[in-house]
Structure formats: structure tokens, C-alpha cells
């Protein structure tokens, strides 16, 4: 009797969560698949009774758009470049933090700070730092900005990083710097947590054997830390494929320098642009995004199964 009563009660406890999940998670999964495979689908048309046939047209047309391929290329490139850089840098910082005693907490707090900021707001700061003011082709700008000032102080020449005349490479550099800056805190936190759990015995043993610091790093630290490294790489890739806020932070919703709209648009940006009018295309793009994330996660898991020790 008691058991039956509990059954009923359990579902009552779960009811609010299941209702919200049903409407805003389960239904979207079904409906997005449906919209993706209905050729040329849009919700306004469906309301008016427009028929849509089943097929792959959304996928083939999306892949054919140069807009979309730009987004896909930007997303892949930014991810493939920023994830290894931020992981390597975070690993170095974590190991350095783990080898010092005084001021450790202080440095740890500083390195975590970027995490607790609004990434769009701080993107605007990066924009301000790299931006020149009053840029006109063929004329001296009014202000060259702080980063260019620092570059010139060290004897370099100024570059238009993000303004009207900026090139692809300069934009890319700024985005990579900002994305890495943003990605560091989480990775440092996880890797340092992993390092602190490593048994000191391994290091003592390596020291007794007379191993050099470099050798200890590659032969003891990295293997022992490999589960954590795999974790930050996987989450890094997933986050990277969903990149959107960093571009918004730097460039605003033009997704590129003022005169070059959409230059740095990403997969998520493409989906969001098509949400209001072309749900079929947006769904196809979202399904492709999911497929990429799923595939990369599987590859990562496969590689880490082979490489991750214990």
C-alpha cells in the first residue's frame, strides 16, 4: 500500500519539472527535427496552411549558401585554434600555481576573475582597447587606441585591428585573444583541482630517480592529469562550436567590422538570424551543429580512452 502511495507522490513531485521539460525541451527536439526535414519550412507559412514536403532540401540549400559556409568556417577555425592555445596556457598556469606557496590564493583569484564577468560587457572593453578612433582611409586616425600605443612603444607599427579598414588576420587575432582570455579561468580551475589531487608520492619518486622538471611535467603531470585535460578539451570544443557571445561582445550584432557585416558570423549566429523567418533552415543548421558536436565528442572520448591513463 505504501509503495503505491509513493508512486503517485513521486510523479506529483516531478510534475512541474516534467511539464516544463516536455514543452521546452522534448517538444523542441521533435519539432526541430520535423522542421529540419520539411523543405522550405517556416512557421508563418504553416499557420496559413501552406504544405511542406519531406526531404533534405533545407540541408542541401543551407550547405550551398556562402553565408552558412562562412559561419561554419569561422566556427571551426576559431575552435580549432583557441582550444589548444587555452588548454596549453591553462595547463602551464595551473602547474605554476601548484608549484608556488606564497600568494597562491591571490593569483588563483585573479585568474578566475574573467569567469565572473559578463562576456559581452568585457568584449566591449576589448573592442575599446583595440579600436582606433576616427579612422578614415588615407588619413591619420584621431586616436590609435591603447594596444597600438603599446605596440608603438615597443617599436612596432600600428595595425587596424577591428575598424573599417581592418583585415582578416587582425580581426582573427583579436577574437583569439579574447576567446582564450575568456576560456582560461574554467580550465585553470579544473586543471588546478586535478593537480591538487595528484598523490605527492609520484613526484617524490620521480625526484629520487633524478628526473628533470621538464621530464616530470611530460611524464608524470600530464599523464596523471589526462582525465582533466580530456574534460577541458571536450567542454572547450563544445563551447567553441557554440561561439557567439564573444563575437557579439567585440563587434556587436553586425558580427564583423562596421563595413564588413557578417564577416565573423558563427553557426549559432546563423541559426539565430534565421529563427524568425526561416525555421527550416535554422533547424537544419542546428541539426548540423549537433552532429558536429556529437562527432567531435565521440572522437575526443575515443582518443582519450586510448590516451587517458587510468
Amino acid at each position: 500500500m505504501n509503495k503505491k502511495k509513493n508512486q503517485w507522490k513521486a510523479w506529483l513531485y516531478l510534475l512541474p519539472a516534467l511539464v516544463v521539460l516536455g514543452v521546452f525541451t522534448v517538444w523542441p527536439i521533435i519539432n526541430t527535427l520535423r522542421m529540419g526535414f520539411l523543405e522550405g519550412y517556416n512557421s508563418a507559412g504553416e499557420r496559413l496552411g501552406q504544405p511542406f514536403s519531406f526531404g533534405f532540401a533545407n540541408f542541401t540549400s543551407v550547405i550551398g549558401y556562402s553565408e552558412f559556409t562562412t559561419c561554419l568556417g569561422n566556427t571551426l577555425l576559431l575552435t580549432v585554434v583557441t582550444v589548444p592555445i587555452s588548454t596549453m596556457l591553462a595547463l602551464l598556469i595551473a602547474v605554476a600555481l601548484n608549484s608556488i606557496k606564497p600568494l597562491k590564493k591571490f593569483f588563483q583569484t585573479i585568474f578566475f576573475l574573467p569567469y565572473v564577468t559578463n562576456s559581452i560587457a568585457i568584449g566591449m572593453v576589448f573592442m575599446a582597447m583595440f579600436s582606433m578612433i576616427g579612422v578614415m582611409p588615407g588619413r591619420e586616425p584621431m586616436s590609435i587606441g591603447i594596444i597600438n600605443t603599446i605596440i608603438e612603444a615597443f617599436g612596432g607599427t600600428r595595425i587596424d585591428w577591428v575598424n573599417q579598414t581592418s583585415g582578416w588576420g587582425a580581426n582573427f587575432f583579436v577574437l583569439v585573444v579574447f576567446i582564450v582570455w575568456n576560456a582560461l579561468p574554467f580550465k585553470i580551475l579544473v586543471l588546478l583541482g586535478g593537480l591538487q589531487n595528484v598523490d605527492k608520492q609520484y613526484y617524490d619518486a620521480a625526484k629520487v630517480d633524478g628526473a628533470s622538471r621538464w621530464r616530470i611535467f611530460w611524464r608524470v603531470t600530464v599523464p596523471l592529469l589526462s582525465p582533466m585535460i580530456a574534460y577541458v578539451v571536450i567542454t572547450g570544443f563544445i563551447g567553441g562550436f557554440k561561439e557567439y557571445n564573444s563575437i557579439i561582445g567585440i563587434f556587436g550584432d553586425t558580427m564583423g567590422p562596421n563595413t564588413q557585416q557578417g564577416k565573423w558570423n558563427t553557426m549559432v549566429g546563423y541559426i539565430i538570424q534565421n529563427v524568425s523567418g526561416f525555421q527550416g533552415r535554422a533547424s537544419a543548421a542546428a541539426i548540423i551543429l549537433f552532429a558536429i558536436i556529437f562527432a567531435v565528442t565521440l572522437i575526443n572520448l575515443y582518443v582519450s580512452k586510448k590516451k587517458v591513463h587510468y
Partner: protein, 344 residues
């Protein structure tokens, strides 16, 4: 400070040197001393290298914060100098004033973004969304986690596994359908076309569209369930013997015992509201503007040029609450974050 490190290392090195003679019978006393000295020097050099590296990285990490703060108290003229200065020649507070009070001339705003940005309303809206969605989501999360941790029912494990599986799907995939769902052909919370009449209660319905879709986080349910399961069953049985009801037990025993997790969830949820951009920008727009949307959308222009000091003042005010929360709840944030890997 560096003396301190040196001392520490010397202690380390000397203790090693003391142990050595047992192993190295052949080495003379002088040789041992020389080796010890070489090791000490090397250790000090490594420590200096580590601190230098960390300091350089810390400067890189902190510089944007510094630039934001310092720019917000500069005059526009000073900021726009060919080579902007690293330290303001003149500190002014007008930029902060300009966020809340406009200077008019012939009925046109010539300075300030108060009217355009409406920072007070943005803050209020965001706090409202944050607080309401946090409270509701805590209630839903606690109830579900309790059911999964303590109650027995058919299909429990299958349901839980299915819920966890949805975590793998990127949220953007939900956004497309949810956009349609909250629109006029669905729940009617948001009108997507400008042609549709703006009706009374529009902001309340936009508010619903901001809060309801994100009430349930499978990850938080998972986190809390793990926490609940660590509480020994004996406590529950003892409470049953005493005739305590399930809800009372949940409220009096389980919730207090899982307070740290609940605090982590609260903070991450509040931060999420503060930082959210995509969804509010898509569905709420002018009807219920949140702080990040307003900040990014405002044009900070004075005399046809972007007024960066004014913009930076706004950025400071948006960033500051987060930093204050971080200072007070550092432990909870870092704990929650290291387990989730999600931002907001």
C-alpha cells in the same frame, strides 16, 4: 617576499643535503656543499621564473579590467588623444552621471545616454527575472531531486537517464522551436511581428517568456540528487518513526544539509540572468529589456564619435555586481563551476 621564498628553498635544500651523505659515501663534504648550493640556486631561479610568468599572465588578465575602470573616469577628449594615457591626467565622474542624467540642448540630447539606456529599468528588470526564475527553479529542482533520490517509482532510472541525455543537445536547437512556442501561434507571450498591436500586459507576458523556458535545468537536478543521496537513509527512517511528513523532512533536514549546493545553484542562476543575451534579445526586445541586451544595443555617441568613457562607465556598472557577488561567494561559485563547465 622573494627572501621568504629563498629561505624556504634553502631549508628544503639543506634538509636534502643532510640526507645525502648516507647514499653518497664517495662524495667529500665540500662536494656535497657545492651540489646543495647549485640546487638552491636552481630552485630559486625556477621560483623566480614561476613568479615572473604568473605576474605577466596576471597583468594580461587584469589589464582589460584596469582599462575599463581607468577609461570610465577620463574625459572624452583625453580618451581620444592620439596615444591614450595609461593613467588619467584628470579624474572625472561625469561619465557615471551621464548614464543617469542627460544634458539637453534645444530639446536634443547632446550628452549622456540616460534616456536611451535606462540603466535603472534594465537593472530592475534583470534582478526581477533573476530572483523569480531562481526561486521557482529552486522549488522545481528540489522537488525533482527529492523524487529521484528518495522515492521509488516505476521507470525512475530510465527517466533519469533520458533527462541526462538531453544535456548533450546544444541549447540552440531548442531555441528555434521555443521561439515559435512563445510566439502568437503558440502560447502568445511574445508578438514577433511589429504589425501586431502592442497590448496591455505585454511586459508581463515577455517576462513569462524569459523565465519559464529555463525553469528546469537537468544539470541542477542531477547535482542536487547526488547531494541528497549522500544523506543517510537512517535519518529518513528515524524521521518517519517520529511521524514527520515527507515535505517537513525535506524542508527541515535535506535542504539545510544541501545548502552549499543550493547556494551554488542560486548564484549561477542569478549570474545567468545577468549575462543572458541571445534569448532575451530574441523574444523580449523592448517589452522587457535585460541589462546585457540594453548595454550592447545602446549607441554611446557624442559628437558623432563613440563616447568610450561613457560606454566604459556603463560596462563598469554592469560588471561590478558580478565582482561583488564573486568576492562574497567565491567558494560556492568555484565549486559549482568546476562541476558544471557551464557559464550562466
Amino acid at each position: 617576499m622573494s627572501d621568504e621564498i629563498k629561505k624556504l628553498n634553502e631549508n628544503d635544500a639543506s634538509s636534502e643535503a643532510e640526507k645525502k651523505p648516507e647514499g653518497e659515501v664517495l662524495g667529500g663534504k665540500d662536494e656535497i656543499a657545492a651540489t646543495a648550493k647549485r640546487q638552491t640556486v636552481k630552485k630559486v631561479l625556477v621560483q623566480i621564473g614561476l613568479y615572473t610568468f604568473l605576474t605577466v599572465m596576471a597583468v594580461v588578465v587584469l589589464f582589460p579590467f584596469y582599462w575599463m575602470l581607468i577609461s570610465s573616469v577620463k574625459t572624452q577628449a583625453e580618451y581620444n588623444a592620439y596615444n591614450p594615457s595609461l593613467w588619467p591626467r584628470q579624474f572625472i565622474w561625469q561619465n557615471y552621471k551621464g548614464l543617469f542624467v542627460d544634458v539637453h540642448e534645444n530639446g536634443i540630447v547632446i550628452e549622456g545616454v540616460a534616456d536611451q539606456l535606462n540603466l535603472g529599468t534594465l537593472f530592475l528588470n534583470t534582478v526581477l527575472v533573476g530572483v523569480v526564475s531562481t526561486i521557482l527553479s529552486l522549488i522545481v529542482t528540489v522537488l525533482s531531486a527529492y523524487a529521484f533520490a528518495r522515492l521509488e517509482f516505476k521507470g525512475k532510472n530510465v527517466l533519469f537517464a533520458l533527462m541526462l541525455a538531453t544535456m548533450m543537445i546544444p541549447g540552440e536547437l531548442f531555441t528555434i522551436t521555443n521561439y515559435v512556442t512563445v510566439g502568437s501561434s503558440g502560447l502568445g507571450w511574445v508578438s514577433h511581428s511589429a504589425a501586431e498591436q502592442v497590448t496591455t500586459g505585454e511586459s508581463f507576458r515577455a517576462f513569462l517568456a524569459l523565465v519559464v523556458p529555463f525553469l528546469v535545468s537537468v544539470f541542477y537536478i542531477y547535482l542536487l540528487r547526488q547531494n541528497f543521496m549522500q544523506i543517510p537513509n537512517e535519518l529518513y527512517l528515524a524521521a518517519k518513526v517520529d511521524g514527520t511528513s515527507d515535505l517537513k523532512y525535506l524542508w527541515k533536514v535535506m535542504i539545510p544539509l544541501s545548502a552549499p549546493t543550493l547556494i551554488s545553484i542560486t548564484i549561477l542562476k542569478m549570474m545567468g540572468a545577468w549575462n543572458s543575451y541571445v534569448w532575451p534579445n530574441l523574444v523580449a526586445g523592448e517589452a522587457f529589456k535585460l541589462v546585457t541586451v540594453g548595454l550592447r544595443g545602446a549607441a554611446f555617441k557624442t559628437n558623432e564619435l563613440i563616447n568610450y568613457p561613457l560606454q566604459m562607465a556603463a560596462v563598469v556598472l554592469v560588471t561590478l555586481p558580478l565582482l561583488i557577488v564573486f568576492i562574497f561567494f567565491r567558494k560556492y561559485i568555484m565549486r559549482g563551476v568546476s562541476r558544471s563547465g557551464i557559464k550562466g
